[in-house]
């Protein structure tokens, strides 16, 4: 990407940060509160374990690791590209026109132009929880596992990000589709939070989010998959994310070409 373009993105993000922090009281409240979301997710898992000794054959320590990894990855993706959801508004009002005529990539503009500063706290929170879950799980550390512990959330975040972008493109065809995409983004987060052993097989195939939390966690814990997937699959999250991005970018391009404006 050319230097001037990068400067433009930087300015867009900076303008967003300035504008979002104008209503100070509301902004501070929003940022502080939404960063508690991840804690609630993990608390919800702990509450479940109050009434059950195991979940899908996993202990509380293992289940919390799966959930924390998935949650952290989701928060990374939500910060980076989550606001792409607003595309529906751009398409409905025709504001997408102005995005398309500017000499910057449409996807890049939409992401930079809506950069959600207030979500940054959630990523910090997610990281802290993930670190705590790693300690709590009592992992037998090896260099390979340390590498996996660092790369897995990033790769899984990329997987979620691809889902956000792919989901957003539906808006080009079906304007009121916001909730449809939610089934695969927020739904994917819920799906990936739990051990995959509890789901029917067709669902595990349809939602590839086993790669987000479950598979890397298995490798970190040194546990063979009760479902019988070979051990090397646990390392394939980056591959899954790359494949998802290829699909997402293709969908995005098709979507942008399909855009017909509002006619007003």
């Amino acid at each position: 990407m050319a230097e001037p373009a990068r400067g433009a993105y930087r300015e867009l993000v900076r303008a967003q940060i300035r504008s979002q922090s104008q209503y100070r009281a509301s902004f501070a409240m929003d940022a502080a509160l939404t960063s508690c979301v991840s804690v609630l997710e993990i608390l919800a898992i702990l509450v479940l374990f109050r009434v059950t000794p195991s979940l899908g054959g996993f202990s509380v320590r293992e289940a919390v690791l799966i959930a924390a990894l998935c949650e952290f990855a989701f928060q990374i993706a939500d910060l980076a590209v989550g606001n792409i959801e607003r595309i529906a508004e751009y398409v409905r009002t025709g504001r997408m026109d102005t995005v398309l005529v500017r000499p910057l990539s449409p996807l890049g503009q939409l992401l930079a132009g809506d950069f959600p500063l207030r979500k940054a706290g959630r990523v910090v929170q997610g990281l802290a929880l993930y670190a705590a879950a790693l300690v709590y799980a009592g992992i037998d550390w090896t260099p390979a596992r340390a590498l996996l512990a660092v790369t897995a959330p990033v790769a899984a975040g990329a997987l979620f990000a691809a889902a956000f972008v792919a989901g957003a493109t539906v808006a080009f065809f079906w304007i009121d589709s916001g909730e449809f995409a939610n089934a695969f983004t927020y739904g994917g987060r819920t799906f990936g939070t739990y051990p995959q052993t509890i789901y029917p097989a067709w669902m595990r195939v349809l939602f590839g989010y086993g790669f987000a939390g479950y598979q890397p966690a298995l490798a970190l814990l040194g546990r063979p998959d009760p479902l019988g997937t070979p051990a090397w699959v646990a390392w394939c999250t980056p591959l899954a994310a790359a494949a998802a991005w290829v699909g997402a970018v293709l969908m995005w391009r098709t979507g942008v070409r399909h855009y017909r404006s509002t006619g007003s």
């Binding site: 104008q22 009434v51 819920t190 509890i198 669902m203």
Partner: protein, 318 residues
């Protein structure tokens, strides 16, 4: 995390714009010759509006809310799809939990399955997520028009919200329920009294939820941007209303605290426990009374805060 499940997301919030009340205007205006008393003495007593007229206005506004939301068909289909996906996942979780531990929180597996499917349907009936229609109108100054109408904005918005909920019952509640009935073995109510009690409870839950959302929106008179208060509302509402998990999964002291000190169980947990008959009919009736009490209390609070807020209103931009 059952959370997103429970509180999917600010779905495609139907845009408010100015359609609110536009097609009801003719009904709310003191209309034609039907009411002869007010006719004969037009200027004698401008207020209060006779009960029959205000009841008619309320019904018309509710009808408008119903019609308005029935135009967002794509959104309805997409929302139902998402509810069903979440329902399938949550059922997998609860069925596994029940399999490993017998009767979590005193619910049988079938009751938990019903809890999930009725719950997925109720989410959008009681509208558990962000609603900022009033706040947007405060920010833009349009609220001045609401205040000029002969109907109190609190009553007008409540009527529109009940209409919205009515439409949601017919679509968002019935569709996931039908899916659950087709593909899962759900617990069906054994007592006839459960059905009317559930209906009353859902209406009361909608009113409690509405009053809470309205109160949050009223903060816009002071803050203009209400993203913070909305986050606060959704953050505590989700887990404390029984949306993340049935409240009976919590330690007993926490249950007491939530039930006695907050209105949140009245929004979601009460109608769900009635639907799956977790308690005796007597206890269920008591919880409905609790809902009604909370609704009354919150509407009082709304009216009071609104009176103070209105004195502060400065319509921006002249």
């Amino acid at each position: 995390m059952p959370s997103a499940a429970a509180c999917p997301r600010p779905g495609p919030e139907p845009e408010s714009g100015s359609d609110f009340g536009s097609d009801t205007r003719s009904d709310t205006e003191p209309d034609s010759g039907s009411d002869k008393n007010t006719r004969s003495a037009p200027d004698a007593r401008p207020a209060p509006i006779p009960f029959r007229d205000s009841a008619r206005a309320f019904a018309a506004l509710a009808g408008a809310g119903f019609r308005r939301h029935s135009t967002y068909r794509q959104a309805t289909v997409a929302g139902v799809f998402t509810n069903i996906v979440f329902g399938i996942m949550l059922c997998a979780v609860y069925v596994d939990v029940a399999g490993a531990s017998g009767r979590p929180g005193g619910y049988t597996t079938a009751q938990l399955v019903s809890y999930v499917w009725v719950g997925q349907g109720l989410l959008s009936v009681v509208c558990i997520w962000a609603w900022k229609e009033l706040a947007e109108r405060i920010r833009s100054g349009d609220v001045a028009a609401d205040l000029l109408r002969p109907v109190d904005p609190l009553a007008a918005y409540a009527a529109a919200d009940l209409g919205r909920a009515g439409y949601a019952v017919l679509t968002r509640l019935l569709a996931p329920l039908a899916f659950g009935l087709l593909f899962y073995s759900m617990y069906l109510p054994q007592r006839a009294v459960t059905y009317p009690m559930f209906a009353v409870s859902v209406a009361a839950a909608t009113l409690v939820s509405f009053a809470g959302r309205y109160l949050v929106n009223l903060s816009g008179f002071w803050l203009l941007d209400i993203r913070g208060p909305i986050s606060f509302w959704m953050l505590i509402l989700g887990p404390l209303c029984g949306g993340y998990f049935p409240l009976r999964f919590l330690p007993e002291w926490a249950q007491w605290l939530v039930w006695c000190a907050t209105p949140f169980p009245s929004v979601f947990q009460v109608p769900l426990d009635i639907a799956v008959e977790r308690t005796s009919s007597g206890v269920a009736a008591a919880t409905v009374l609790l809902q009604i009490a909370w609704a009354a209390l919150l509407f009082q609070a709304c009216a009071r805060v609104q009176r103070r807020a209105v004195t502060r209103l400065v319509v921006q931009g002249g």
